[in-house]
């Protein structure tokens, strides 16, 4: 709640245009809508620059539908739903026009924003099996208004595959490096580029990969500077921050 708003409100109070009780209420009024099982944050676009996103895991299709409707009624034009299974996607599609990506398990109601970022977001994966997290990132980045370039299966076991794309990497405004197993991709990419690298460890691997722990630790300990890390398999989170970075000039 910023200063300007409070000043304006207080002015109304001083001018007796609003009752004290009503003003007190307004100061405390929550900019969210109550659904009982969920509180929809209808002011988030103003506060965080991106409207609220629905985390689909652990919510029933009905709950998701109800949230979507409330959002629509509050004028939210673009609704992103992550961790959305194919079955739930079908149910939602019967009520809303949903663009769904079945590799990244992510869907969008409404149109992607204009790709008006500073540059391109490059999404690179170590292997083919990391695609699920990469597609989640790509879909998110595109929905939020970014031009994206996908470089899949460019892991460090065959460096030439990565180096063949050096121009695309060099021209990125942000690189999202998605890798499981030993997660070395993030370090190698960060050593090659001059833009931020957001690393997404994946749970791809077996044995001592311990569900992505190996890649996670690797990325946190990167010997190359300029790397930050999100949760295992969190392609959405990486794209969300990449979008913020790619639009950073806008809001200041």
């Amino acid at each position: 709640m910023n200063n300007t708003y409070i000043n304006a409100l207080l002015k109304k109070v001083a001018e007796h245009k609003i009752s004290i009780e009503k003003a007190a209420l307004e100061i405390k009024a929550a900019p969210f809508e109550e659904l009982g099982f969920a509180k929809i944050d209808t002011h988030r676009k103003i506060r965080n620059g991106v409207p609220e996103v629905i985390y689909g895991a652990g919510k029933s299709a009905e709950q998701i539908l109800q949230i979507c409707e409330t959002m629509k009624n509050n004028g939210q034009e673009q609704i992103l739903i992550t961790r959305l299974s194919e079955e739930k996607a079908k149910e939602i599609s019967s009520s809303f026009k949903l663009d769904y990506n079945n590799i990244g398990n992510i869907g969008l109601i409404g149109e992607p924003s204009n790709p008006d970022g500073i540059g391109k977001i490059v999404i690179a994966t170590g292997g083919t099996s990391d695609m699920y997290a990469a597609e989640e990132a790509a879909f998110t980045a595109k929905a939020l208004g970014n031009e994206i370039v996908c470089l899949y299966d460019v892991g460090v076991a065959g460096l030439h595959r990565l180096l063949a794309h050096i121009d695309e990497l060099m021209s990125a405004s942000v690189v999202i490096a998605v890798a499981g197993m030993e997660g070395a991709l993030a370090s190698v990419v960060a050593g090659l580029v001059d833009c931020p690298v957001i690393a997404v460890p994946t749970s791809v691997g077996y044995g001592a990969s311990f569900g992505g722990l190996s890649a996670l630790l690797s990325m946190l300990n990167s010997c190359a500077s300029g790397v930050s890390v999100v949760n295992i398999d969190n392609g959405f989170g990486a794209a969300y921050q990449a979008n913020m970075i790619n639009h950073i000039g806008e809001r200041k």
Copy 2:
């Protein structure tokens, strides 16, 4: 090694302005200088936008001095040295003019760059004891050319301390959230701002904080979007990436 450079070189070969052997050598020539115990990466500013930084831990004062001299001879004007103990700083000060910060254990030879970023970098800490990592971040960000704002001891146990600085947080281009113990600061800040939050877990705490593991996991699992994480106590790494973000318009 980008395309333009190779094209130019090949043109010289075609025009017999350079011998085949010399060209082959040049293509392979490493843009680094060999010191025996270290290979100094003299081209890094061109490649990564920031000149090479010396990681002082596990290097003797003599080794650091020798690296500094080589850097100087290669025209590197600004030398940042992290994890530099007070004793080593003294030894280096006898040969170079060193600006040293004894809380962050970090030093700079040369002048800080002009603060010409897109906006301000806000560095917030949960408590007073997190200052060592915050100062490392602040010193780095300043050296690399950023305006900084430090908000120390604004942990979530007393939310009003944080909320009192809401204007400074809202106007940041990047926030670096530094916290130990439960590391909740990152989530709370990310819920309030519309810019990227880089989280630095610290090893502050005892018992089940397990040397910063608690804060690290917290920050990776942040329920608020827009948070990415660096290694425990890695204030330098956070500032390095924040600097990249704050200058992102420049190089594209």
Copy 3:
């Protein structure tokens, strides 16, 4: 076995109103009933203030039924069964009138006690997906005789949702803070209230949440005082202790 009881018994011995053998037996006699596979603690209400509760996981419906019958025969009027699957609940319903909550997987035979505690128990969750543990807590607290207030989906990513309920939080006698992911809710709430906060980490999350470990460590390392923690997903345990606190004036 308290002093008064032994004194009384010994008095009977001295007065030869009871044989030595019988007294010896009584001193050793176990206040529980033997079912072979289980020993029902029929004196627990006297000793601990709450009658024995059945932990339904790993017990067959038949075993649970048999335990219920024994309890009933021993005059236990209220039987709480936790971790009770919907199928087992159905089987038990055919023999007993069971009030069952299918989110919290918990059921009650008999009536809830009168809500006669000192104040209200507030149960807050970080997200919608934490509801299963919160409902277990709410059902337990109500059954044991407490007035409850549920504040769901008030996680720290949107602080205003929590702050909108500040009055309810401030007036609680105990707050149960239920959260997965980074578990920051406990710290933020504890910084706002003047009553004990019992934190319930949940296994909600993915990747580096490691089945609730992240939230658990967060809550144990809370920078705010007044927080204690129960096992991951242990809504019952939190409510059990909250009930003890809310009735603390009674038995002293």
Copy 4:
């Protein structure tokens, strides 16, 4: 910031007794004092019922002294300092009258509050070597106004030592169970009493105790209901919550 306060303030605005700017400022005004390296929370007693406590670890004696002076100037009569080494205690003693406990490494400026709680707080330890955490708890509980009973070295390896104190345990309003190694004390005590048990795992032990992890996990998995757990070695935190429980009738 509660409703009453805002109403009163808005009334002043409506009556033009205060300017809009000043009111806006006051709404935002932080009830803390800024020291640069620390922000002292001078309103905490009102908000949390207990004045702010100084966590002495990682603060210099000078910093602690400066904080104490600010607190004193703000009228805080009782200042509790935890994790205070003997050397720092000496330095502080030269400026303030400090009551210091060199086992619990904790000190108090000012007088302990009146022991006006509902009942007694019993502090039990498994062994002699757990005394450091128990003394921290005992000192804290006493300072905050509680009658305490200390039962040291009553670990489960010799149950009779514990059972000999059954009367004291039964009459407690809260029991703080302090134990390292396998931490079984908490479960055994909770099975015997009808009041909340706050368990403090200690780092006492070697090998597979992993710095208190063994006791911590034990206590979290207690088969007895009514146990909640604080961080390893956190005697202060246990006593802080015990005090809240022991005074719970007061503020409602």
Copy 5:
């Protein structure tokens, strides 16, 4: 291979009663039978005092049958099969007379040995849900020739249930303490008896029990002397060693 045997063999060589080649072969001859996928150790009873036991997990019913036949052909009268699912047990029953315990998932071909140990083996569990491991232990102990006493559901949350059996515990030659969750049973029992306690941590529990880790660490850190520990859920292993102890006088 002991001295006596070699001496005898060498004597035959010296007396030319056996060829050099044959003697060399015999020295090297393996006292096992080769099945291709398994090598059956037909001498184990001589070497270890107990014939080889079949670990049924990860072996098909056919493989187990084939091993059983080879054992039978080699004169092994008693065949114990652990971790044997109900389905496999059925298949084996069609070829052999199998005594099967469907709680402990363990079966015996042949008769149990005479219960001729020094004393009784007491098997105690913390709860009803620990019975699977306890039954594995009880069945094994009985098969190997021991008198057993089972005390189930005597966990420390209701000490009186355990203390009611103090005579049986005091008269044991070995106690096997089986418990999940916090595993305190082992410590409490060891404090009461004068015989070895073999502790079996079980995977019973949830959340921070981490699949039995909590009970395992508890038991390893027991504050009571005289406790040793086997793997999580390893009732067989505990009974195997208990049998060795209960027959220790025999072979010396």
Copy 6:
């Protein structure tokens, strides 16, 4: 990209036999084929001595088929596919002649190479249940051109079973030691032989084996020299390196 190749290319440039653009392209040209979801490394045999192997886990049968076809079209005669389920193997068999091992879940299109290594590769397992990883290793080693000897079920619980094969072990050029549970086989074998031992920890075991962690740590901490370790269950990786060792004389 080695020197010779660049020299030759540059010579062509100097002799104007190739255009600058084409040469630049060639220098950058990736020796892999792009399938969209995968980049097939068609030069790997030249670079690493072994053609690219398909990791079947997380790839659909169709994706694997498409990769196989591209490889075939590029003249790769031998295609090894690991972690290939029986169902996928069937689908692939309809298009290619596939030799499939359903214990090791591994298949080969084309013929095994000639067994022309320096010596034999011995593959030993601790138990019957470790066979899946051993068969993966055996199949791989054979496919890549090695004579193999399999010694299954020679675990250290019956040393004589292992010692009976001492001649085979002594004559190996590499031993692959495959074991779960406590993984002691690697140390014991390494103490007996004079060739490298590659240890494969398996996930065989339960409880505190923690999915192979126990065996992994054992093997890494081997008190015997000459042991190196691959990932849990990674029979392929062990055989791959063993093949390199067994052919080491060839390429130097």
Copy 7:
């Protein structure tokens, strides 16, 4: 408190030879002596067969001395003190005749008991550096009245060193296997002998031995039956149980 005692006491009550109050007191009377910081368990020899042992770590020399004096005054003739540093041993020696072992850091006041066990206790170590734990075990076993045989440096890297002592191992009544690093000694020994093996993992090792965790897990997962495990470095605990086993015939 056994039945006989209670019967006798009750008889006195019935015969009015003792007052009710006194009898009640006696039933509750704790068989320990109160020192304030410690409760000495003066009845332990009767209950557990071995008098109380002093755990010297975390106790001052003065505290230990005071405990020793109380024990002496209560007629305890043999006092074993574990984890006793050399300095403390010196201080104690000035008041008591102390037999001190400076490798095992253990001391004895009084004479070792007669070696009257069933057989010999063999203590074997993997390496020379495990001697500290082995000496603790050997000293304890001897003090408690056992004949011991020490086999040091018989690790599995050189099996012949172990096999050379096969006769001594075969004739043991208990073997204590002490090893760090990969801890394979326990499995190998258990495969060779027919008596219980108590395994002591040591913290000897570096890197992935993680302070003894590697050896601990190995020993818990032993593929050989008949092994149980005590805490890392707990030579005392192993010997304590071995003594119980070696005297098992005595008390039944």
Copy 8:
């Protein structure tokens, strides 16, 4: 003990050239010398191809000296001592001519063997601070008779530094890749070469490197084939195995 030896011995028995007793003794005779605290394995060169090496950690200088003397007396010409501190090295130097490396903390009595391996062993490190483990490897490899090439500070943050040495890497018979932090060096190198890569994780790093765990897991999960791993900081072990590989043609 191989077949030939036994045959020869038996032949002597048959020919009565040796008594039965003496032969029996000889068969059992351990090829080691007993020092009390250590058993020196004087036959190891015959069995394992490399004479016994002294692990200096946890041994006193006197113990090491005594072992050296016994080795010398048994004709061992080359004695390698690892983990040897500078102080102990000095003490040993007074009795033996010792070649000592104070970075790798390793020393050699006697001359290095002739460098007669198949090829060169390349030792590469990620950074300057990994040198201690690399020097241990280099010294060992040289002592055992190998030509070595050291490539230090060629970590993946500056790929060109590594690629500049591609010829040396391509011509190696074994590469030892030594790296801390994220340990990506092993994967990148293995993708470039056609020889075995032995990876040595180091404990270099801080925070989430957890003492080398991060690098260890990375290397175990390498996406490139042909990598095996030794313990954290175990340069000696890597070189020991590399030497075996580099001499593999010799003994077959």
